[in-house]
């Protein structure tokens, strides 16, 4: 199966591991990631205001490109995922935004939110299947207690992202179980890491990230995993703990024997 792949800016630079293993593992699991040609940066965070049109265009371009190929659009960075899925939702439901965007782009065929947007982990669950991953694991991460860190971007707003139960998600835990490790459930897994505020005032992300890692460790975590480069940065840099924080694709690659 071939899907359109949107890596995003960070995966090309600071988060190469997230990208590299995403590609390797997908290939091993029988999914071809076809990078969207000439994709543009999604802007990092979803433009919430109803009158923001230009800032939504890069996402719409990627979405329309996937539509043209009739492919599902897969992202792995949580931020890109949040932006693109929400813009797609706007294109499906907000007539005004849809109309303005389409007028602006003036494509042959207007884009109306037809593309199916999946996060890499959703792709693993829905297109590959965790059972099949389990079969393909050569290095089970047995005995490892791994805490999944969702953050805010994958889950909220719950109705739009439709990713998992936003208050008590289980998809990453199921994934960790499929890799042979033991998932650690801790309440801060859907709390925010402090995000981009790190640029201006690292004190805030520090408090947030410490809370997250402390909660994970309280519940016995040995490793924390995330899909977001900024979360990873904040947890590592500001989390005040030596606990390793890794990308989900790294875990997957390790278990599949690709690392």
């Amino acid at each position: 199966m071939t899907v359109s792949y949107y890596p995003g800016c960070t995966l090309k630079t600071k988060a190469k591991n997230l990208d590299l293993y995403a590609r390797k593992c997908a290939e091993a699991l029988g999914i071809a990631l076809e990078e969207i040609p000439e994709w543009q940066c999604c802007g990092g965070c979803y433009p919430v205001a109803k009158d923001e049109i230009a800032t939504k265009l890069s996402s719409v371009r990627a979405l329309a490109a996937a539509k043209e190929k009739g492919q599902t659009l897969v992202t792995v960075c949580s931020a890109c995922h949040n932006v693109i899925k929400r813009v797609n939702h706007d294109m499906q439901t907000d007539e005004e935004i849809r109309d303005k965007v389409n007028r602006y782009r003036a494509p042959d065929e207007p884009y109306e939110g037809e593309t199916n947007v999946l996060h890499y982990i959703e792709m693993l669950r829905d297109l590959v299947g965790f059972d099949k991953i389990k079969e393909k694991v050569v290095n089970p991460l047995a005995g490892k207690k791994i805490a999944a860190y969702y953050g805010c971007l994958l889950l909220r707003p719950g109705k739009v992202m439709a990713f998992d139960n936003p208050e008590n998600p289980s998809i990453l835990e199921d994934f960790i179980r499929a890799l042979g490790a033991e998932p650690v459930l801790y309440p801060a897994r859907n709390e925010c890491c402090g995000g981009y505020l790190t640029l201006e005032d690292p004190e805030i992300p520090k408090k947030r990230s410490e809370t997250v890692l402390q909660s994970a460790q309280n519940h016995g975590a040995e490793v924390v995993t995330t899909a977001c480069p900024l979360c990873l940065y904040n947890l590592q840099k500001n989390g005040g703990s030596e606990i390793p924080v890794v990308y989900i694709t790294e875990l997957l690659a390790e278990a599949l024997g690709l690392k």
Binding site: G8, C9, T10, T13, K14, A15, C41, G43, G44, C45, P47, V48, A49, K50, D51, T55, C77, A79, G151, C152, L155, R156, P157, G158, P166, E167, E191, C192, G194, G195, Y196, L197, T198, L199, E200, I204, R208, T211, C228, P229, L230, L232, Y233, Q236, K237
Partner: protein, 128 residues
């Protein structure tokens, strides 16, 4: 942007109807960055409704919202306070010369591990 039109602008670009709020405070109960904020999510709702936009615009609180959407997710009346905060912030930075983040400030903020994502996000949030 005319001063007395701020409320209308905030309501328009946020798409939020603050009248739906029943003053339960769950947003502020949910907010992870509550302690850093001068005005809290529930106050944004009531102050916008009362037209006290300038007070909010001059408060550093507008730059403290993490846009994590916990308040939106848990609001029992679908008021969506985060969208109001965003709209108030936009009222500030869309004014001439009011960008909160300037390019020449960036280099000193960087460290080698900082992902691009943080910079583009901050730029989108803090500049016109």
């Amino acid at each position: 942007m005319e001063q007395n039109n701020f409320k209308e602008t905030v309501l328009r670009i946020s798409g939020v109807n603050p009248k739906k709020c029943m003053r339960c405070g769950k947003c502020s109960g949910a907010c992870p960055n509550y302690d850093e904020m001068e005005f809290h999510p529930h106050q944004f709702v009531s102050m916008v409704e009362n037209g006290e936009i300038e007070k909010l615009m001059t408060s550093p609180s507008v730059y403290k919202c993490l846009t994590c959407f916990a308040c939106v997710e848990r609001c029992p009346r679908q008021v969506e306070p985060a969208k109001l905060i965003e709209a108030v912030r936009l009222c500030v930075i869309r004014q001439a010369g009011q960008n909160h983040l300037k390019p020449d400030q960036i280099p000193e903020m960087l460290d080698e591990d900082l992902p691009q994502q943080a910079i583009v996000s901050a730029f989108r949030k803090f500049t016109k």
